[in-house]
């Protein structure tokens, strides 16, 4: 069962991609969700609005999966573990 944060991220992705929430699971790959480069920056934009955060380009580039995305949002909201890279 996904946690609250993961659920919110999934909802943002579903809303941005115009796909049903049920079609996304925490281990969905971006490829499976048909998220291309333009979709990805659109999702980042929506997440910045949803969580009132600013996602740096370097962090954005490192994101490969939904799990990465949730971890990044968690870190940028200041509730997660310290960054593992500079």
């Amino acid at each position: 069962m996904p946690d609250d944060l993961t659920e919110r991220v999934i909802r943002v992705i579903a809303d941005t991609q115009k796909i049903p929430v049920e079609s996304i699971t925490p281990d969905s790959s971006f490829e499976a969700l048909k998220i291309d480069s333009l979709d990805a920056i659109n999702i980042l934009f929506a997440l910045e609005n949803e969580f009132d955060i600013s996602i740096p380009d370097d962090d954005a580039r490192a994101v490969r999966s939904l799990t990465d995305l949730v971890a990044l949002v968690e870190r940028l909201r200041g509730h997660g573990a310290a960054p593992v890279h500079a």
Binding site: D36, S37, L38, I41, L44, F45, P56, D57, A60
Partner: protein
């Protein structure tokens, strides 16, 4: 009627200065015009640097009343056109001259002010000068009025390919005999707050500088400016003893039909191949390519692949550079500024470098003229422009010695 077409005049306003001479000096010195973003915008964005035309002083060129009606974009257009026409020494007035300009966003930065007035301040009215300021054809109209040019004038807008499409269309008008000469190029004034925010959201602007074809490239640097060429019927240009910089020999276009922002090697290659065929040039004739070379992670390897598709084995020998490393990406003006660089390279036998180059990228394994200009006589050259939306336009120039 099929004529040959000569380039007889050049005008450039860019981050490298407000005329073609300083532009060329900077290019050959490998000196970049990329500087910290000026004014109120500094420090607010994920990127800190830009290629602004810091030396442009509107009051040196326009009276207060005229300036009030003109967005910066149209002002840059006329200043470059004046230089190009004076440089050519030709008479442009009358119906036998065309004006074709390219612009990506026209005078939209002016509209920022109107939006603030209407939506934020709640004012009930907008300046009646806003419409002429915003219209994308303001540059073409201004040039036509200034010189008394009464032939066909219009503006094309194809994002970052705008100027190449414009120059290519003007080339057709002269080649086919519709007109005898044309003022053609592109102009762009990029630096409005909202537009910068939009580019920031695209995540394609480099946090430091523009390093095309370099392994550690992080994106483009936004630029602004204008480039204008005077194109003339070759016979008439020779007859009047004009200085001929080069021949505009071919124009190739294609559409990727692929994606709104991702580049596509096959589409780009088709435009290059079409330009070569139109010019009657072989791949081996091309000694220099002024690349689109934005410095984004996606463009440069895709363009490398496209050059290999279009030129085949000749790609191993062709010298390539991206002058965007010095004048930034001037969007709708980019193709014209780069056409000027290409024509000057053919004329002077010096190929401008790719500045800020640090580390070769195996995915961009062409001869990319790193950091230092190269003395070399190219018989012919290509100037590439590829736009968001997959619209490609390539110009082929032949040296005239």
């Amino acid at each position: 009627m099929t004529r040959r077409v000569a380039v007889t005049g050049i005008g450039v306003v860019s981050a490298l200065g407000t005329n073609a001479a300083t532009f060329w000096q900077s290019l050959t010195a490998g000196r970049s015009g990329i500087r910290p973003l000026s004014g109120f915008r500094a420090g607010e964005f994920r990127f800190a640097n830009a290629a602004e035309v810091l030396e442009f002083d509107s009051s040196q060129h326009f009276g207060d009343k005229q300036a009030a009606m003109l967005d910066r974009s149209a002002q840059l257009a006329l200043v470059a056109a004046r230089e190009a026409v004076a440089d050519s020494g030709t008479e442009t007035a009358g119906p036998r001259t065309a004006v074709v300009t390219g612009s990506c966003i026209g005078g939209q930065p002016s509209m920022d002010e109107a939006f603030v007035d209407v939506y934020k301040k709640g004012l009930p009215r907008v300046s009646p000068l806003m419409i002429p300021r915003v219209m994308a054809n303001a540059g073409a109209s201004l040039i036509s009025m200034h010189f008394g040019i009464t032939g066909p004038s219009y503006t094309v807008s194809t994002a970052c390919s705008s100027a190449n499409h414009a120059i290519g269309q003007a080339f057709w008008l002269v080649r086919s005999g519709v007109v005898d000469r044309a003022v053609a190029g592109g102009h762009e004034a990029t630096f409005s707050y909202a537009f910068l925010r939009a580019w920031e959201a695209m995540r394609v602007v480099s946090p430091d500088t523009c390093r095309p074809f370099s392994r550690d490239r992080h994106g483009m640097i936004l630029g602004e400016g204008a480039g204008m060429l005077v194109l003339e019927d070759m016979e008439a240009a020779v007859a009047r003893g004009a200085r001929i910089y080069a021949e505009l020999a071919g124009f190739g276009m294609s559409s990727d039909a692929h994606h709104m922002t991702q580049p596509c090697a096959q589409g780009a290659a088709r435009a290059m191949t079409a330009a070569l065929e139109d010019a009657g040039l072989a791949a081996d004739d091309i000694g220099y390519i002024n690349a689109h070379g934005t410095g984004t992670p996606a463009n440069d390897p895709t363009e490398t692949a496209a050059i290999r598709i279009a030129l085949g084995n000749a790609a191993e020998r062709v010298a390539v550079s991206s002058t965007k490393s010095m004048h930034g990406h001037a969007l709708g003006a980019a193709g014209a500024i780069e056409a000027a660089a290409t024509v000057l390279a053919l004329r002077h036998g010096v190929l401008p470098p790719t500045a800020n180059f640090t580390d070769p990228d195996p995915e961009c394994d062409l001869d990319v003229i790193a950091n230092t200009a190269r003395p070399a006589r190219a018989a012919a050259a290509l100037s590439n422009s590829f736009a968001f939306g997959g619209l490609n336009a390539v110009l082929a120039f032949r040296a005239v010695l």
